[in-house]
């Protein structure tokens, strides 16, 4: 089982990217679980589509049913059989969202999510900024093995990515996840490549994938689906497939048969 956490500035494209990656890996025969660690609970919308637009989050279940629910209640099978989980959060404006993430992930583990579903790949899609201890939970020991940071060349995105990289470095002595690499999601700003490469150097890591900006992404979003599902032949779909391969490789995993033909990126 590989477990990865994807961090990055709010709105940078984390949920869109990991949803596409999840579908690629699931189509390649792996059991994939995507866990949205964000009170917005919108990580898996593209995977669930219109038919399953509504789902109960883990914290909804805890709130409404105390302990009286099962593993199945927390999981919705989305596109390509990806196991979709949303941690959820407190009532907006109340409670503590970060502590909520901790409670949700602990509940998931206690109910046997990892033992029973035995996913090959677990993806934690974490809210934009690591504002408190709760949002570093997915990096903690026993959760993700590797952290991937998603960024564009925009200054704000780079700044957020640098902070995340620093947090990962700080937590090294606690046995937390290490940095797996940077995923560049282009916004087509000036000197984009150069700035992100600089960031990679500062963080002693590298850019493992390069995603162009594409109109297919918002178009797919309109249809509540992923690009790899709707336009599998497109260049963007191929870019997501390459991202999926790069993630597996960064985790030291062999590629499944069907992904071996995907062009491996130069870096």
């Amino acid at each position: 089982m590989i477990k990865i956490a994807v961090y990055g500035k709010g709105g940078i494209g984390k949920s869109t990217t990991v949803s596409n990656v999840a579908v690629v890996l699931a189509r390649a025969g792996l059991t994939v679980m995507q866990i949205g660690c964000d009170p917005k609970a919108d990580s898996t919308v593209l995977l669930r589509g219109r038919k399953q637009a509504r789902m109960e989050t883990v914290l909804d279940l805890v709130r409404n049913r105390k302990d009286d629910f099962s593993l199945d209640d927390m999981v919705v099978r989305g596109c390509a059989g990806v196991l979709c989980v949303e941690a959820g959060g407190p009532s907006p404006g109340l409670g503590c969202a970060g502590r909520g993430i901790i409670a949700a992930l602990e509940t998931l583990e206690k109910k046997g999510a990892y033992d029973i579903w035995k996913p090959d790949v677990v993806i934690y899609d974490v809210l934009g900024d690591v504002v408190c201890g709760g949002f570093s939970m997915p990096m903690r020991r026993g959760y993700a093995d590797k952290v991937f940071v998603l960024t564009s060349g925009e200054n704000m995105a780079i700044h957020a990515a640098a902070n995340i990289g620093m947090a990962v470095e700080n937590f090294k002595s606690r046995g937390y996840a290490g940095l797996g690499g940077i995923i560049l999601n282009r916004r087509n700003v000036k000197r984009e490549q150069e700035k992100v490469e600089e960031l990679a150097q500062d963080l002693h890591t590298r850019i493992i994938a390069d995603l162009p900006r594409s109109d297919l992404v918002p178009e797919a979003e309109e249809k509540m689906m992923t690009v790899v599902e709707g336009w599998p032949e497109s260049a963007m779909a191929e870019a997501y497939r390459m991202t999926a391969c790069a993630i597996l490789q960064a985790c030291g995993r062999e590629l499944p048969e069907s992904l071996r033909t995907v062009g491996v990126m130069e870096c």
């Binding site: 970060g98 901790i102 201890g133 939970m137 903690r140 606690r174 046995g175």
Partner: protein, 495 residues
């Protein structure tokens, strides 16, 4: 009920009774199930961890502002002033919690550890870091890496009882003791005796036993633990280690070499399971309260490999001889009365003119006491455990008066799988919360419990005081009986 002399306590009790009035007033309006307005509460899990680790030479750090520590040293730890131990609080402040000052916590511990060189460090969680989601596992790893001292972390909540806290502490300890097989000190598990030297000794002196689940919270600091060791000694058992009172770290390190574990309270059960799994050491539940020691001894000798002929060599006060079930084992007068009861192993309360009795308290000792009372009087008390009670203890209660049938030992049948016969068991229920307890106590005519239970006991019932350190702290410590010889103190001496 005697009045406590301690002025602090009087004040507290005064406050409690004022609160009680207030609470009673509100009772119908609020859901009061978990509130204790008239009775005390048990020592919490945080103190349980500290209590279990107190004598083991480690450094225990409670991560909290201070409340848990003062509760521990003033109410839950009778050894505090007489014995040295490294128990600390982190002095967590509101700002530490808000700003996530884990570094300060880590730095302070490392500094203290470098000074004091403890053999291990234990981190204990309390409500503040629980709510804050502090990553103790990560912190433990960091401190261990930086000091080279093993660090254990206990995920206590401050909301459960010492049974869970002390239970997880002893479990963690036996998880870390060395495996004697590794040093060639033990043959494969299952076979009781091991290396030559020990075997020679064992033939003369009998098996090695660990006592599991000993803390002052259940056994105080009076005579009980000495009497227990004495009892074992007279029956030819040798104490390998006692977890965790009166055994130094060295004795505990060799606990894996024992032939048998005696689990004397619910606190010892998780550790017993670990040792069974790791070293193949079987365990027996129970405490030798008065006559119940005879059944316990029989059970222990059948599991430890000490044969019953050896048991016959034991001192003459031992009442073995003849078939156990001919009425000699139980007082024959009562045996006849209870015959039907014995046959269908009926656990219902005895509603005869002798009334119905109940023992409230820690389940393993209370069930043992109930068995002893049955063996002496023929009255079968019930047990109510207000503490976390493992299902295994409830199962054991159902058979606590039975012994393994050694009469017609069949070839190929292991002693552990042997069928059990005898007088059945004791009904034990786990009931928590003052209101539920008060309701449950209504039918009984005689109640044996800590004096602080008296306010919720039915007025017509006879109350027999059995103080329990984990419930009333030091208030009645002087009246805590020696459990091995409990009947005189409880006024239950056979007529």
């Amino acid at each position: 009920m005697t009045e406590p002399k301690d002025p602090d306590l009087c004040r507290t009790l005064g406050k409690i009774s004022a609160m009680e009035k207030e609470l009673n007033h509100n009772k119908d309006n609020i859901n009061m199930r978990q509130v204790s307005a008239r009775i005390s509460t048990y020592t919490a899990d945080v103190s349980g961890v500290c209590s279990a680790l107190f004598e083991l030479g480690g450094m225990t750090v409670i991560h909290d502002p201070s409340g848990c520590n003062s509760t521990y040293n003033t109410h839950d730890e009778p050894r505090w002033y007489d014995q040295d131990s490294l128990v600390f609080i982190s002095g967590l402040t509101q700002m530490d919690a808000i700003l996530g000052n884990d570094d300060k916590f880590i730095r302070d511990i490392i500094r203290a550890a470098e000074d004091l060189k403890p053999s291990f460090i234990a981190l204990v969680r309390t409500p503040v870091p629980l709510l804050n989601g502090t990553d103790f596992e990560g912190i433990a790893l960091e401190i261990e890496a930086r000091t080279g001292i093993p660090v254990m972390y206990f995920p206590t909540t401050g909301m459960e009882t010492y049974i869970r806290g002390a239970g997880m502490a002893l479990e963690a300890v036996v998880n870390r003791i060395p495996d004697p097989a590794f040093h060639g000190k033990r043959k494969d598990s299952g076979q009781a005796k091991s290396h030559g030297e020990k075997e020679g000794l064992s033939l003369e002196k009998g098996p090695w036993v660990n006592i599991l689940g000993a803390t002052p919270l259940d056994f105080s600091i009076g005579q009980t633990m000495d009497s227990l060791k004495d009892w074992l000694d007279r029956r030819g058992y040798r104490v390998r280690s006692c977890l965790a009172m009166g055994s130094g770290p060295d004795a505990i390190r060799t606990a894996g070499e024992a032939d048998l574990n005696l689990v004397i309270s619910g606190v010892g059960l998780p550790a017993a399971r670990v040792m069974e799994k790791r070293f193949g050491i079987p365990y027996v539940l129970g405490f030798p309260v008065e006559d119940y020691g005879r059944i316990l001894d029989r059970e222990m000798s059948s599991l430890s490999g000490a044969d019953s002929d050896q048991a016959e060599d034991s001192p003459s006060d031992d009442l073995y001889g003849g078939e156990l079930y001919d009425g000699e084992f139980y007082d024959s007068e009562f045996y006849d009365k209870e015959k039907s009861d014995l046959q269908d192993s009926n656990l219902n309360t005895d509603h005869s003119d002798r009334g119905s009795w109940v023992v409230i308290g820690e389940p393993v000792t209370s069930i043992s006491l109930a068995c002893a009372i049955y063996m002496r009087t023929g009255i079968r008390p019930e047990v109510i455990s207000p503490l976390e009670t493992d299902p295994e203890i409830l199962d054991w209660a159902k058979e606590a008066l039975n012994v393994r049938d050694c009469g017609e030992e069949m070839a190929g049948e292991s002693k552990q799988g042997m069928k059990k016969i005898g007088a059945g068991g004791i009904s034990c229920r786990m009931i928590q919360g003052e209101a539920a307890l008060e309701e449950a106590l209504r039918p009984y005519t005689r109640i044996i419990a800590d004096p602080l239970y008296q306010p919720i006991c039915p007025g017509k019932a006879e109350f027999i005081s059995l103080p329990h350190e984990a419930f009333s702290g030091r208030i009645y410590r002087k009246q805590i009986p020696d459990l091995v010889h409990a009947f005189i103190d409880l006024g239950l001496k056979a007529d």
